[in-house]
């Protein structure tokens, strides 16, 4: 009796297994397969063992040097993005109205940048920041500041960071806003009776209650910024020089520009592991205090 049921259950989950196999396991295994081989034209493959991984993780080699340059660049970018967008998002969420018709208005305005496709964002900023016809670039240059994102690495970085902040801060703000909305009025009233200052209310009520959504916001923003590709690709193409060549851009150059599939596959796997590891670290740190908590919320 139970045996029959179990067999039917296997049949029912089979489609899921197939989908996962074709969409995740097989492609990943293909990448693993490439990563241990050297490829040439005419579909010739030669076994290379862990050779690509050794080269990749050794900064003194060409491949390793290039990989670590891109990796530090990407880590720096993610760090800057988190340091700006998380506090800014919290600040915006705190400033958003709690009731009245302005709630809907501000929600719509906040959601607008999130609805724009990545490559459109890149194009918008590419035009916007141009010194000759772009509103931003033209104005900045006419204010007497020498600004040229296609020529100056620092300008290119500033432009990409500002663009990302413009594009994604509202995601953090909306998540935080949802967290803030879930705090019952009694908490604020109790805090007033306890004589808490504005800062104390933030530290003791709002921030702890936003903790869970902040975790999600930080993870999402980290993963997205660490994998950023389209916008800098459209805006700077990784330049000037290699100044904005992030890991994903480098990976595409390696795989599709040079057709070094073995090296690119090894890099993909390491890239993937780094994202997983960093997310795990964030998750562990931010849920640390929760570990002993019962699942009961007041």
């Amino acid at each position: 009796m139970t045996k029959t049921l179990n067999n039917k259950a296997w049949l029912l989950v089979l489609p899921v297994f197939l989908i996962v196999a074709f969409s995740a396991v097989l492609p990943l295994m293909t990448v693993v397969n490439y990563s241990v081989q050297d490829t040439f034209g005419n579909n010739q493959f030669f076994w290379n063992g862990v050779g690509w991984f050794q080269e990749l993780l050794d900064p003194s080699t060409d491949l390793g040097g290039r990989f670590f340059d891109s990796l530090w660049r990407t880590l720096l970018f993610s760090a800057i993005i988190l340091l700006i967008e998380v506090p800014l998002g919290i600040a915006v969420a705190l400033a958003m109205p709690r009731e009245g018709w302005t709630v809907a208005l501000s929600l719509v305005l906040m959601a607008l940048p999130l609805l724009i496709p990545w490559n459109v964002v890149g194009t918008i900023w590419q035009v916007f920041a141009r010194g000759d016809i772009g509103l931003l670039g033209w104005v900045v240059n006419h204010l007497g500041i020498d600004y040229n994102y296609t020529g100056d690495p620092l300008d290119a970085w500033i432009t990409i960071v500002v663009m990302d902040v413009w594009h994604w801060t509202s995601l953090v703000a909306l998540l935080c806003y949802a967290g803030l909305k879930s705090i019952p009025d009694a908490y604020y009233q109790a805090a007033r009776i306890d004589g808490a200052s504005r800062w104390a209310v933030f530290r003791t009520i709002q921030l702890p209650k936003m903790r869970r959504v902040l975790l999600i916001a930080v993870l999402l923003r980290f993963m997205d910024s660490f994998m950023i590709y389209t916008e800098p690709f459209v805006l700077t193409g990784g330049g000037p020089g290699n100044a904005t060549t992030f890991l994903s851009i480098d990976l595409v150059k390696l795989a599709l520009g040079q057709f070094d599939l073995g090296k690119a596959a090894a890099m993909s796997l390491v890239y993937n592991l780094i994202i997983l590891a960093i997310c795990w670290v964030f998750y562990t740190i931010m849920t640390h205090g929760d570990a002993r908590k019962e699942g009961v919320e007041a």
Partner: protein, 366 residues
């Protein structure tokens, strides 16, 4: 320590209130004396919480003044009043330990550290929280959290009154009794005015020395639990308090006689001539109505008999109206026809809902 005076207080949530129906809280004059245990009783939406929030300063009244002793505090913010409030849902600061929670109001008021520590220990002992002082407040049960909320109020040495807004709502039934007796003990131990908002008459009647009954934004009666039971000033108090509530029957009154349809009941008080436009009603609690075998008294039909623990209550019908009556121990009735005997000492006459004071008849014992 303070006496709290509400002086012509009224509140409307709408701007520009016109008629009385725009007011969530209709004009009220009341004095809460120092050290009293009060209950503010009424159904949901009757304005109890509004009144409480006005006293604590969370809401500014549309009209009128609030005085603490003789000081006008109407315009003072919450933190400047010596009032504490415990809410329906326990509020604790999740990231802090119980000790830090209790110390929080003192820390915000820059009380010296050693004094704070000493005061926290004192209050923790009073509330039986000493054993959990160093645990995170968020891990505790609802009744513990509610004790912490209460403790944050008690810890301030200047607090003159503590307001409770249905504080036992989320507490398990078996812990309700315990927490309520803790409240009573604290009230006895400290000379603090307590105002307890609830819609549960048992809570109100067991907690308070004086109960303020509210209905539809207005105070309908203030009195001891006995007074509310014996002499409800309004038919609302009559049927809201008591289980089952008071029997209210439309009637006509002439002098010292009441007419219930074709039946007459002689009263112990003589009443003024009641206007025909007024709705005249006779009220009597089921405890003072006895059912007896068919014979003398009001003829009724028994519909059902409920056993409510220590007593049995008969639901009877008289001329199409349902009434409740108490059933004597050894009653035996054949069929469903019976009679009611009303204790004339406990009959009250109401006009448009309000108790009419009669004039005692000379020569008859009350």
């Amino acid at each position: 320590m303070a006496r709290i005076t509400l002086d012509h207080l009224a509140h409307a949530y709408k701007p520009n209130p016109q008629g009385p129906h725009d007011y969530a809280l209709k004009e009220i004059n009341h004095v809460w004396s120092q050290g009293g245990a009060y209950a503010l009783l009424g159904p949901s939406g009757c304005g109890k919480t509004t009144l409480l929030n006005i006293i604590s300063g969370l809401v500014r009244p549309t009209r009128g003044r609030i005085l603490f002793d003789d000081r006008d505090v109407t315009d003072l913010p919450t933190e400047a009043r010596n009032i504490a409030q415990v809410f329906q849902f326990p509020v604790v600061y999740d990231t802090m330990t119980v000790r830090e929670n209790l110390a929080f109001p003192l820390k915000n008021r820059h009380v010296p550290r050693d004094k704070t520590a000493q005061r926290v220990e004192e209050i923790a002992r009073l509330l039986d929280l000493t054993s959990v002082l160093d645990r995170k407040a968020s891990n505790l049960t609802a009744d513990m959290k509610q004790k912490i909320s209460l403790g944050r109020g008690l810890v301030r040495p200047d607090v003159a009154a503590i307001l409770f807004d249905e504080p036992l709502t989320v507490i398990d039934p078996h812990l309700k009794w315990q927490l309520r007796s803790t409240l009573k003990e604290i009230h006895r131990a400290l000379d603090i005015t307590m105002i307890y908002v609830t819609h549960d008459q048992t809570e109100a009647l067991t907690f308070a020395d004086k109960v303020v009954v509210m209905h539809d934004g207005a105070v309908v009666q203030t009195g001891t639990p006995d007074e509310l039971f014996e002499r409800p000033a309004h038919t609302f108090v009559g049927h809201f308090i008591g289980s089952p509530g008071m029997n209210i029957l439309p009637c006509q009154v002439e002098g010292a006689t009441a007419f219930l349809g074709s039946e007459t009941i002689s009263l112990q008080r003589r009443y003024r001539t009641l206007n025909h436009k007024e709705q005249v009603e006779l009220g009597i609690r089921p405890e003072f109505v006895q059912i007896q075998p068919k014979g003398a008294g009001l003829p009724v039909r028994i519909r059902r008999i409920d056993d409510i623990g220590r007593a049995r209550i008969a639901r009877v019908e008289m001329n199409g109206r349902m009434m409740a009556a108490s059933v004597p121990e050894n009653l035996s009735v054949s069929g469903d026809e019976a009679s009611l005997r009303l204790d004339p000492r406990h009959i009250h006459i109401y006009a448009d809902g309000h108790l009419v004071a009669g004039e005692a008849l000379g020569g008859q014992a009350a």
